[in-house]
């Protein structure tokens, strides 16, 4: 496994993501994130740790453009997301891969179609979709569950489908929220290898996790959130 040194591939113009004095509060409540400033370099790999309720999911949701910060600015791939038009935001989202803590699979679709969704939305040719999705589902060990719908999958199987959907379009930035909470160590290792492979070919990766064993096993830098404040900074500044 490669060390998390700055990457050779640096195709992207600016930084992958950059937060500037960002604050977030949920309708009138206290600030869940305060004064967050951080810059994720292209091709980097970070763990995001912190106790339950610290704001990890909230931070990621700013990054995958599901929420606007209540103050401060978020720049994605060098573009200011506050100013961007909706269509532009949709295009930017296609360069992201998100694994949700609660999976968010579509129950009326098979595992295959769930994974194929980002490709189809982006208008990828059916032949390519077929090939890529099949290959990826094999890699995560679901070659026999491709035609099952999510309610007929075990918790760990659902999580792997969610991960496959996130990475199927080779995103520039992968944001994974607790992606190994429902699988055993052997599969967790395999999934981590997948993230590392994608990292090697140029993706930036941020993985929020409680799994200390995982964080210790891989030599990637750690961002640590405590009560909405970042106590460990990104690699570039370490």
């Amino acid at each position: 496994m490669n060390p998390p040194t700055p990457q050779v591939e640096k195709k992207l113009p600016g930084d992958t993501i950059s937060l500037n004095q960002v604050g977030l509060r949920y309708d009138g409540g206290p600030e869940v994130l305060s004064d967050l400033s951080l810059t994720i370099a292209p091709g980097s790999f970070h763990f995001l740790t912190g106790p339950s309720g610290a704001g990890k999911t909230s931070l990621l949701s700013l990054m995958y453009l599901a929420k606007r910060p209540t103050r401060g600015r978020v720049l994605l791939f060098g573009e200011d997301t506050t100013a961007a038009k909706r269509t532009r935001l949709a295009i930017m989202r296609r360069r992201l891969g998100v694994v949700f803590q609660d999976f968010r699979l579509l129950d009326h679709m098979t595992a295959f179609d769930n994974v194929a969704l980002p490709l189809r939305v982006a208008g990828v040719a059916p032949g390519v979709v077929q090939r890529d999705v099949t290959e990826l589902l094999k890699w995560v060990g679901l070659e026999n569950e491709m035609d099952k719908h999510p309610p007929a999958l075990s918790g760990g199987q659902q999580q792997r489908v969610a991960i496959a959907r996130a990475v199927v379009n080779r995103p520039k930035l992968i944001l994974a929220d607790e992606p190994t909470g429902n699988v055993d160590d052997a599969i967790a290792l395999r999934l981590m290898t997948l993230f590392v492979e994608l990292h090697k070919i140029g993706s930036s990766v941020i993985i929020a996790t409680h799994n200390h064993a995982l964080v210790e096993r891989f030599p990637f830098p750690r961002l640590h959130l405590e009560d909405g404040v970042l106590t460990r900074m990104p690699a570039a500044r370490n």
């Binding site: 909706r86 989202r93 296609r94 969704l117 980002p118 189809r120």
Partner: protein, 289 residues
């Protein structure tokens, strides 16, 4: 970008069948409202036409009565503005009067001859020309243009037509409101689908289009089913109506416009459902960044 592939549960679940069933029931009701209103319209215009295209010529009893009547009939038969003229049989005149003056009295009365005239053309000039010709043949003859009846029937037509139109507008508005509600309700199930499509980078138009197409299909399916149900139900009502005295509920040929209006119900329901799905989804999306 119109694709046949859909990211939605098309045939699936309660939601899909639900909008379809609802539109079915409502198109069924609306079809009846439209039919009722058409039928009233046909009756009204039938009366209007029946009265406005006819005259009654009265030749009063007196000397030369028979000769005058024959001459008047002859003049009318050959007049270019007249389609048809016929003497009302004495028995029929008696029958008309009997309720008012009693059987005994009628027999002895020196009644006038009544001639029903159907005009080819009912403009005032034609009526005046007929009047002149008749006066030449029988100077004491009187032409009744049914003006009073005409005015009354016209006011009737306006009033009843207005009420019928008001009822059909209300029912159609209710139908529209219901389809909009139903479509929106069926989308509440789909919040998660919208969320996920949004997050994987689908543009607003793509997401809204998917739902709009599904809503269109469901509503049109339901609408066609509603008409399919309406046909036999109309048959039952028609059979019942046929047992009523035909002078009270005359059998009417509903106009082509009526059948066209019915045929328009499913596509109209479809367009409504489509628009309301589109707007609802876009509104849901607009709440996200």
């Amino acid at each position: 970008m119109f694709t046949l592939r859909s990211d939605l549960p098309l045939r699936g679940g309660g939601s899909g069948r639900f909008v379809a069933s609802l539109v079915m029931v409502l198109v069924f009701i609306a079809a009846f409202a439209v039919t009722l209103s058409s039928y009233v319209g046909v009756l009204i215009s039938g009366w209007e036409r029946g009265v406005s295209g006819t005259l009654t010529v009265q030749v009063p009893a007196g000397e030369n009565f028979d000769a005058e009547v024959a001459k008047t009939l002859d003049v009318l038969a050959r007049h270019p503005a007249v389609a048809h003229a016929s003497l009302v049989p004495r028995a029929q005149v008696d029958a008309l009067l009997k309720p008012w003056i009693g059987e005994g009295a009628v027999k002895d009365l020196p009644l006038p001859a009544l001639i029903d005239v159907e005009m080819r053309d009912s403009d005032p000039a034609a009526v005046a020309a007929v009047d002149a010709s008749v006066k030449a043949a029988a100077p004491r003859a009187v032409i009744d243009e049914h003006r009073v009846g005409l005015a009354r029937v016209a006011s009737f037509a306006r009033g009843l037509g207005g009420v019928a139109a008001a009822i059909i507008v209300l029912v159609t508005a209710a139908l529209a409101v219901t389809i909009i509600f139903a479509t929106r309700a069926s989308l509440t199930e789909c919040a998660q689908v919208i969320e996920v499509l949004h997050v994987v980078g689908a543009k607003d138009g793509y997401v809204a289009g998917q739902f709009a197409r599904r809503a269109l299909l469901q509503a049109v399916t339901g609408g066609v089913a509603g008409l399919a149900l309406y046909a036999p139900a109309l048959g039952i009502v028609a059979v019942l109506a046929a047992r009523v005295d035909p002078e009270i509920l005359p059998p009417a040929h509903l106009p082509l416009a009526h059948w066209l209006a019915l045929a328009l119900l499913p596509p109209a329901a479809g367009v409504l459902a489509m628009l309301s799905a589109n707007i609802t989804v876009r509104r849901t999306l607009a709440a996200k960044i």
